[in-house]
Symmetry: C2
Subunit: 341 residues, 2 copies
Amino acid sequence: MRENVTLSDVAREAGVSPSTVSRVINGTARVDARKREAVLRAIERLGYRPNLMAKGLAQGRSLTVGVVTQEISSPYYGEMLKGVEQALEGTPYHPIFASGHWRADQEEAALKVLVGRQVDGLIVMDGSVPAERLLELAQSMPVVVVGRDIPGLCCLSIDNLQGAYEGTRHLIELGHRRIAHIAGPQSHLDAVERLRGYKRALEEAGLPFDPALVVEGDYLEPSGLLAVEALLTRGALFTAIFAANDQMAYGANVALYRRGIRVPHDVSLVGFDDLPSSSYFTPPLTTVRQPGLEMGWEAARLVLALLEGGEYNPKPLAARLVIRESTALLRSSGVRWVHPD
Amino acid sequence: MRENVTLSDVAREAGVSPSTVSRVINGTARVDARKREAVLRAIERLGYRPNLMAKGLAQGRSLTVGVVTQEISSPYYGEMLKGVEQALEGTPYHPIFASGHWRADQEEAALKVLVGRQVDGLIVMDGSVPAERLLELAQSMPVVVVGRDIPGLCCLSIDNLQGAYEGTRHLIELGHRRIAHIAGPQSHLDAVERLRGYKRALEEAGLPFDPALVVEGDYLEPSGLLAVEALLTRGALFTAIFAANDQMAYGANVALYRRGIRVPHDVSLVGFDDLPSSSYFTPPLTTVRQPGLEMGWEAARLVLALLEGGEYNPKPLAARLVIRESTALLRSSGVRWVHPD
DNA sequence: AAGGTTCTTGACAGCGCTTTCAAAATCTGT
DNA sequence: ACAGATTTTGAAAGCGCTGTCAAGAACCTT
């Protein structure tokens, strides 16, 4: 097992030409059975492993697909990445990740890194790179976008408005009339869609929209906590909260816990995403499930299809309400309004 | 902005030789100021981006470091990966990930993929690839191992025994005498160390070790839930639980919640890891913090150092108890033993 | 101004693999 | 057994870049 066994070493060992070795490895052409055997044995004996970089250079492709996420450690992206990884398993392709950290400039940097590494295809998750930039990239390689809708590009996203609508609607059906909303950053399309879904459900139920009941967060836990604090100190009256994602719902829950406000006894809480940990939350969180793993999977199958020039119709992905234990009927016996201190 | 601008294109455009272009790009030798300018302008004008695969082939290195995790979507590894990513930022290296899914064969497959992609260095997190295999790999490239101790290799790990000892100790100091332990899979060294830490704390306090109080889980939430169920149905008496990781603590908490057993009022709970979500758990979880991000960071700095042939003394990383709200003094007024139904 | 140094530069040979292309080997049919 | 059709095979030219090497330019020195 020497240092760097190359294809030529194998060729010499097997007594054939490098071309032949290449052919048996890739199955690109018929090769006499005896020679094939000899080659395989030589490969075995030498412990040969093809150099993918050389192969990539020669073929003009790298057998990698670039994935731009916002934050690799976020549980939400974690699921998607896992989906991508799974979908690519068994194919010659391998994912390579880069994070945009929710900032357009960092996203652009991530794209540059991936392009420089000659990725053959690209999956872009959320983010705020200009659409034109993505369209430009799409001219030279397959690009699929998750979580945004860009005309002219393969996009994969759920109906955020519909999901938020259902989450809010669930609360209304439980009898809640004053429902607070912890919104996501309004610079993100999905966040504004969720806010719209919330409004629509209210409207349809004939409930007034009260701006004092919505606070904007940044999709991270602390902002959920802060949002509830804000709501409480400004004296807002509410019996339920619809958070634009699970992480903010977690934060909200802690704030409520600190005030001795019990979920769902005093206040019902619904999130959005259904992170893996949400079913182990206490109480298990009612939430609008966003199929992260499936989205990652479908995105990857899609680039693969584009790469091979084939067709692939991604399964429609829908947000779906998952009712667990953080929501309950509004207590009939007189509403106990939550108030500051 | 043409399709594939190569270095020679730039050379032609700037009226110099390819070598010169290479030199100004890499700063490998002095170049006349005027020519340098011309080259830079040409690069700009043509929108040239170096092909890293070609560069890699020519230099015999890929500028990538391979990272073997067990599960890319796990919050614990998420933190470590983020650390690696951060540490590599600004260097010419980029991480490339592959998951072992807690199975030796898959880990081996992951290693093969990474080696085939010519990674220049390797970070292996936990797992059960045989030590000899890693030693063998270490002969041809820098290898750093996180979470295991392998003589002859750069290893990074915390003192699991000490951490578990402190977690258990904390419970004892709060007055608890009957402390259950949800252990990790005993096939993993860290899990057995944590069990040992638990035992040592007990022993030191003169408390008996009761095998009926320990249940083995698999580090995932459901197993924590099941463990508590098991404990409860077998009639075990306990006032506190020390779980070998946070995820199992989450599961345990749900099981307790379902039975109407309140944390920390009735039972105190401590976890291990301090996942990002643990401080937003309800109640915020007391846990033994394992500095995932720092571990990832240090591991990456370490391979970098090995790669450059430099020296790097990683900061010592210690597990440290983080006291939050899931643990409380044993209620003095008569212990209310928890029992099945 | 000539000889000696030191810099700057371009030609060229790879890195390990793929992929024509045409020669060599094998197989047809008669 | 032989011309012709059909494989199977190896030589060779890249893929885009780096790095050695020796030639040429620029600088000294006396």
